[in-house]
Symmetry: C2
Subunit: 253 residues, 2 copies
Amino acid sequence: MAGTDKTKDMTSGGPAIILVDPQLGSNIGMTARAMLNCGLAELRLVRPRDGWPSEYAEAAAAGATVVLEGTKLFDTTADAVADLKRVYAATTRPRDMTKTVVTPRQAVAELTALPPGCSAGILFGPERSGLINDDIALADTVMTVPLNPAFASLNLSQAVLLFGYEWFLASDETPARQVVMPTSEPAAKEVLINFFERLESALDETGFLVPIEKRPAMVRNIRNMFQRVGLSDQEVRTLHGIVSALLGRKKKP
Amino acid sequence: MAGTDKTKDMTSGGPAIILVDPQLGSNIGMTARAMLNCGLAELRLVRPRDGWPSEYAEAAAAGATVVLEGTKLFDTTADAVADLKRVYAATTRPRDMTKTVVTPRQAVAELTALPPGCSAGILFGPERSGLINDDIALADTVMTVPLNPAFASLNLSQAVLLFGYEWFLASDETPARQVVMPTSEPAAKEVLINFFERLESALDETGFLVPIEKRPAMVRNIRNMFQRVGLSDQEVRTLHGIVSALLGRKKKP
């Protein structure tokens, strides 16, 4: 989706994203893009198979160069987490280890509750095999994305995106539902009532609102239908024009 | 991430995902994979640029063939939504249209509240340009993913994934935080207390728990440290072994 406003950069740092043994440069690039979509800035790579920097990563990052330029390389997972104080391992539920397992939303709740300066990171394993148990044992907690158990294999960048999305939502204040009116204001009720009364008198003239004992209910139904739209001033003017046109009263050319 | 259990397929139908003018077959394949990750089954394509079927789509779907095989082709967006009763357009906030805008979470809340048989779909635009206004006008509501406003351009399959993730979560009952113990049970408190008392008496012998007036606080701190772990029976046995080993009492070979 398009729509970028560089004056509102919400890249706030957040936990480091650590890719262990990533294989495809394109997946590293898509990871960088997903990170920046969600305001995450710090990418660490442990032994990227195809070397670093990577032209495939740059192409797939689709402009998220700030993330790629800051990427740090490490020889071991232990090195990559050495300075961190809280580490999550993104993987499916471990089958042979006793481990605390959280959802991404819970991980974000825990991360945002950490005291200032308590640096954190999330480990993600290689595309085909996921994290090995020795790397999972370096983490405090396992983070598992709830997904269709019959098809739970996520693309690497998709796994990073789902964590990042929860990270971004934690500080996001977008209303769940809103009416966006770029060119106009919501119509005041008197503007609406004026339109209703004009429409109803036009319908009276045409004999639509009969029989008379049903008129009150018909009027309420018509008013409710238009109320539900949440009309703007401009839209009420358009409706007046429609009524005029249907009545055969042309506007001035 | 690995981990697939085909006996627990949670593919439940859900709204149709409609890709309008998708360009890259690989993005269609990644979309199919993301859909199946989230239990979404129905994919519709309007004028896929590089034709259909697509070998790139099959490669990128990583096994989500059930989605690809059921994919339906349409010549126009109007045809693709004709049988649907509720349509969302996934795009950024419209700048020049009056439109209701919801988050993906809100869209899912509305979709799950629809009466049975009220079929629905989500429109996604082409990779570079997004949905055109005429297609947005076919939708009841715009769905916009809250993202870093300085870098809001999502990969097509990532946009589908974020909707699908919210769709899946709406019926998911995964605990936010749990301790997974594959091979053992949480230890009963008497097992823990038995270990504590053994450890403390061993520490008394070595002269660690001095001076005597600080012993109660030291014991409490040690006990709280182990309590916080949430130990399993097996782990308590391991700790007994560690204490024995440190005391120099070898196990039988």
